[in-house]
Every structure is written in C-alpha cells, then in structure tokens.
C-alpha cells in the first residue's frame, strides 16, 4: 500500500460505503503476505538483485506507482463501490472470476486495485498473449501484475504459491461486444478456469461488475481494420466521441460510469486436486453454474441501479 497516499474526501467516502466491513487485521498487508508459504524464487537472493521484479514479471514498486496513478480514477471518476469484499480470502490461493466489459475493460484494474488496497494482497491478472506481443504495453502489463493465462502459470500461482489470480473467462468476446448486448454474458470459454481451480485445489470467487459496460461502450466495430492491426477488435466507442476534444487521449479516458462490484459466495469443488483431467461434464456444469450465478447477480444489481452515473 502506498504510504504517501492520503485518503481524500471521496476516498473515505468510497471506503465507507463498503457494506460488509473487512476484518481489521486484513488491512495490514504484512499479515496477509506472511501466510504466502513460498516466496517467489527470484526474491530469495535479495542482496544481489537490483530490481524487485518477481518471476511473473510483477514489480511491487511498479504496481504501487500504477495504483497511485489509477487511484484518482478509481475513487473520483468511477467511485468504485464494493459489496462483499470480506468474501475475498485473506490467505490461501483463490481464482477470482468476473464478467468482462468495455472496449478497454475497466473491470480488471478496478478489481485489482480494490483488493490490493483493501486487503493488501497482490492480485495477478491472467490474460491472453496479446499484451505480450506489444512493445512497452506488454512490459507495463507484466510489471503491474499481468500474467499469461497458461494452465502451468495458473497452477504455480494458485497451488504452489497460494496467490490470488483474476481471470475473465469471456475473454475478448466479453469486451468486444456491442453496447446493445451489455450485461449479457458470453460463453465462459471452454471451462478451463474451473479445471484450473480444481487442479490447484482452490476455490473460485465469482465477482459481478456493473459499470464497466457504460465506461467504454462499443458503438461500431471494423473487422478488416482489426485484422490489419492484429487486434481482437477495432471499435468506435462512446467515450471517443464524448472526449473527441482530447484527441487520441480521449480514446483512453473512460466515461465516468459508477462502478459497483459485488463479490459472490466462493465456490469450492469436491474433487481431488492435482488430477491430470476432470470429468468434462462436471467442469461444464460448474462453469455454467458460475456463469449463471454472475448473470443473476448482474441483473439483480441492474434492477437496483437508479443511474448509470450515480449508481
């Protein structure tokens, strides 16, 4: 946690509205970190090391800086509000699974920032290799906690190091959907995330996020252009039009939609970990169950939402 980060008025407000208070000890990062059993190997030789980049490419300092830069956006722009933050385990591995939306999805940084600030545990964001192909962006992504969503990576993070990993099973199918399809969950991949959690013997914590859809809604997409650029989609988004005066920067600045995050009850699996494979039907059942659970929570949250901007 950034010691220099003084909570502003809005920050205290954002924290006050957390409905279920987090146990006091969970706020101390040292407590949460102390239970991580194996330190990443690269960190054991601290005296020789010149940087704090761990084996995953994450740097606590870079992550700290990213939180300081993103903090105002989190507190004042999206005014992120959590519900059920205490359901995020304060120790042990867990796979966080959330819906994914917005051309540049705002849900990932909001979830990672919130958990790191409130619970003091690092969160590794699993994503496909698109970032790793890009110069600069790929390095920044890795330094701030991005890890390739490879089964071996997930297993080592969750099983051997008992970390928190965040995954969006919809992938780009979720982020690339049109505004008219908002809050309609796409297919949850092929259930790989369930299989990973089963193999690692960790619970899945489903998370429902409302607001990211409206922060960067896709109005129009050009497929040939996307193919040419090697991107999953090349959209015109609402914020591009709204912030046209800012030029290219306007494409990056999301609309100030209120983001609400609800953590659902963790799902544990009654199977032996470390198996080479699991029953396909069991995996698909659990995957569909979790997807339905998040979909129901989203509809429930939308029913209560009075305003896109004020929640």
């Amino acid at each position: 946690m950034a010691p220099s980060e003084k909570p502003t008025k809005t920050a205290t407000k954002a924290r006050r509205v957390v409905k279920l208070p987090v146990p006091a000890e969970a706020h101390t990062p040292s407590v949460a970190l102390a239970v991580v059993p194996s330190k990443p190997e690269a960190d054991q030789h601290g005296d020789l090391r010149r940087s704090d980049v761990d084996e995953w490419g994450r740097s606590a300092k870079s992550r700290d800086l990213a939180r300081r830069i993103y903090g105002p956006l989190y507190r004042s722009w999206h005014r992120v509000e959590w519900d059920g933050l205490d359901k995020i385990p304060s120790h042990g591995g867990a796979l966080l699974v959330s819906n994914h939306a917005g051309a540049i999805p705002g849900d990932a940084p909001a979830i990672m920032h919130g958990i790191e600030e409130e619970i003091g545990r690092p969160v590794y964001g699993l994503a496909d290799e698109m970032f790793k192909r890009l110069p600069i962006a790929g390095t920044l992504w890795a330094r701030t906690g991005g890890v390739l969503a490879h089964p071996d990576n997930a297993y080592r993070l969750l099983r051997e190091q008992q970390q928190l990993a965040l995954v969006f099973p919809e992938g780009t199918k979720g982020t690339g959907k049109y505004y008219r399809d908002r809050y309609q969950l796409r297919r949850f991949g092929r259930g790989g995330f369930v299989q990973i959690a089963m193999r690692a013997g960790v619970p899945i914590v489903p998370i429902a996020v409302v607001g990211a859809e409206e922060a960067m809604p896709i109005l129009w997409k050009n497929t040939p252009l996307a193919k040419m650029l090697g991107l999953p989609y090349a959209p015109i988004t609402a914020n591009m039009l709204a912030f046209a005066a800012l030029g290219p920067l306007g494409a990056l600045l999301p609309l100030p939609a209120k983001i609400k995050i609800r953590v659902l009850d963790p799902v544990s699996f009654d199977v032996e970990p470390d198996q080479p494979r699991y029953s396909r039907s069991l995996v698909m059942d659990e995957s569909e169950h979790i997807r339905q659970h998040i979909q129901d929570a989203l509809l429930d949250m939308l029913r209560d939402r009075k305003s896109v901007w004020f929640g």
């Binding site: 030789h45 020789l48 010149r50 980049v53 084996e55 790793k132 110069p135 790929g138």
Partner: protein, 345 residues
C-alpha cells in the same frame, strides 16, 4: 573395472572441460575424445582422435575402445559460428551416426548423456513462465538451430526406446554464463552498450558453466535416466542483467530486425536470431526435476551473472597474460608414451 568414456566435441569448451573433470575420477579408465579441432586445454590421459561425424569412424572407435559411456557434447547451439548446412551436419547427422554406432550389434555402450539446450522450448508470447520437461513448445520452430536440436532430441528419444538396456540422459541447459565460456549472450553483455529490444524487458535465466559440468558428471555418476532442465534458480529482467553488468543499454527496433542484422553484423555485433527471440520474450525453465534427484546448484541466476561480471572486469587484464595452450600431437605423444618421461607416481 572402470568406465570407458567417449566424449564428442573434445575441441569445444564443454568437451575439454568434461575431459579434465573425468581425468580426476579414478573410476574412469579410458577417456577418448573426438573432434575435428584439437583441444585447447592441457589433458593428461585423454586420447584425442581427430575425426569428423561420419558413421564408419564412430562405430570403429566405439568397438575398438570398448566404449561403455558416451557423452555427446558436440551440438552447436550458436548459429553465428557456422552455416546452417554445417550445423545440420554436426547436430543432426552427427547424432544419428553416433547413435547408430552405439546401437550396433554387440555394442558395449550402456550409458549415454546428451547435452541439449532449452532452445528446444523456443521463445514465444504464448510460453508459460516456467517450462517443465514435459511442456510442449507454444509454436513450431522457426530458427534453424532450434529445428536441428529438436531433430537431435527425437533421435535421442528413439534411441532410448529402441535400446531399453542403455541408460539415456538428456540435459537441457539454459543460458550459460561464466568466467571462461564465450556465448552470444556473453558477447552481447561485453559490448559497451548492451542491446535490448525496444519496449521489451523479458526475464532471463542463467546457469553457471561449472554447474553445467557438475550436472553432466552428476547424471553420469549415478547413471540417471530421463530428460532434465538445468538452469539456476530465479529469473532476471534483461534490464537488470545489464545493470548488474554495469552496462547501459541500446534499444533495437522490434520491427525489421531481419533487414538490420547484416549492417549490425558489420559493426561486429553478432546477434543470432534465436537470441533476438529471447530478447523479446525471454524463457524460464523449471529446474526442480534434477533437484529432486539430489542435484544442488552452486549458483542461482543472479549469482551466475554476478560471477560473470567479475570476470568481465578482469577480462581485459588477463587476456594478454595467459599463454594459450596449443595441442601438439608429437609433444603429447612424447609425454604419454615415451619411456624417457618419468612418471611422478
């Protein structure tokens, strides 16, 4: 009865290093070293045979010297050293002939160790952070050296399946650094400005040259079977490696490097394509399987780099003073076989 060892690539760094280490082992009776080039270190009892990789010579030597252990170190990992045709001849054809000779009828061979490389995993954005010995490459091989090493490994696997009575170990070594060995990576770190790929800062893993020799001796001694990654603990970002070496970096363009490689080579900077891939994506391998068999590394990745840095600093001073050893056939024959030489024992 002690071991009768055949080493391929005696003229290379690894072959001569291993021969020196094996000479100190009283359980090794005979050491025969093959190469086209003479060894450049003094050897007390290793027999050097100048030969190429052709089958007839290999099978005759194996038979005549009743070889029971083969250490295959003669695999080229650096594409700047020779043409792709030569690399193919040495790596693929040489391995094929060696195994053909070792599996001839009434062969006395019962233990084979092959020194492969983690190059066989490639370097790709879809790579996991740590490759285990079983992890498959994310994409097909593009670089010629990688392709030839994959072919070599398939010969090794076939040989192990066809000859279940022979103990076959294959060691995949990560990036080697050390005070004595010269690799493309060591050369890159010795440049006044260390090249890096613009916008990329991948993580590298290193293994110390002494740990390489120790690992080969370890599997030889215990007659361990199987495939093992050999690499130090921990991954270091390339920028940190350069910083540990006290060097500034110079960015290379991530696009169009193929076109730039010729002018870059003119400047005396040799960046093989497999190193360029590594500068973009890096590579980590899981070293726990060999550790589980009881092997302990002397150096982590960071310690390897630190030790290498020390030798970089004094390198300029020692290069001029150390008199290079030169193999002279007649002189060696005199020392080993002339009745005039008084053995200190």
């Amino acid at each position: 009865m002690g071991k009768r060892v055949l080493i391929t690539g005696l003229g290379t760094f690894w072959g001569s290093r291993l021969a020196q280490a094996l000479e100190a082992d009283p359980n090794v009776d005979v050491i025969v070293g093959l190469d086209r080039n003479a060894p450049d270190v003094p050897l007390a009892r290793t027999e050097y045979v100048r030969s190429d990789e052709s089958y007839s010579i290999l099978s005759r030597i194996v038979k005549a010297a009743r070889i029971d252990t083969i250490v295959h170190t003669f695999l080229v990992m650096d594409s700047t050293q020779m043409s792709s045709r030569q690399i193919h001849e040495i790596n693929v054809i040489g391995t094929m002939n060696l195994f053909a000779a070792a599996s001839a009828s009434a062969s006395t061979v019962r233990n084979v160790v092959v020194k492969s490389s983690t190059l066989v995993y490639g370097a790709h954005p879809k790579d996991p952070v740590w490759f285990s010995e079983e992890t498959r490459r994310a994409a097909g091989p593009v670089q010629m050296v990688e392709r030839s090493l994959l072919e070599v490994e398939s010969y090794v696997r076939d040989f192990a399946v066809d000859n279940p009575q022979i103990v076959v170990a294959m060691l995949r070594f990560s990036n080697v650094l050390g005070p004595d060995i010269t690799t493309p990576l060591a050369k890159a770190l010795d440049l006044p400005l260390v090249p890096r790929m613009f916008g990329f800062d991948p993580r590298f893993q290193f293994v110390h040259e002494t740990d390489v020799v120790r690992a080969i001796l370890f599997v030889l001694e215990r007659e361990i079977q199987g495939t093992f990654n050999v690499a130090g603990d921990g991954l270091l970002p390339w920028s940190e490696v350069a910083a540990l070496c006290g060097k500034r970096t110079i960015p290379l363009s991530p696009w169009g490097l193929g076109l730039l490689s010729a002018p870059i080579r003119r400047l005396g900077i040799e960046l093989p394509p497999e190193l360029i891939d590594l500068l973009r994506h890096g590579r980590g391998v899981d070293n726990r399987r060999l550790k589980q068999r009881g092997f302990a590394y002397n150096f982590t990745s960071a310690e390897t780099v630190t030790d290498f840095v020390g030798s970089l600093r004094v390198g300029a001073m020692t290069a001029a003073t150390g008199a290079a050893y030169q193999y002279e056939r007649d002189v060696e024959q005199f020392f080993r076989h002339s009745p005039a030489v008084v053995n200190p024992d």
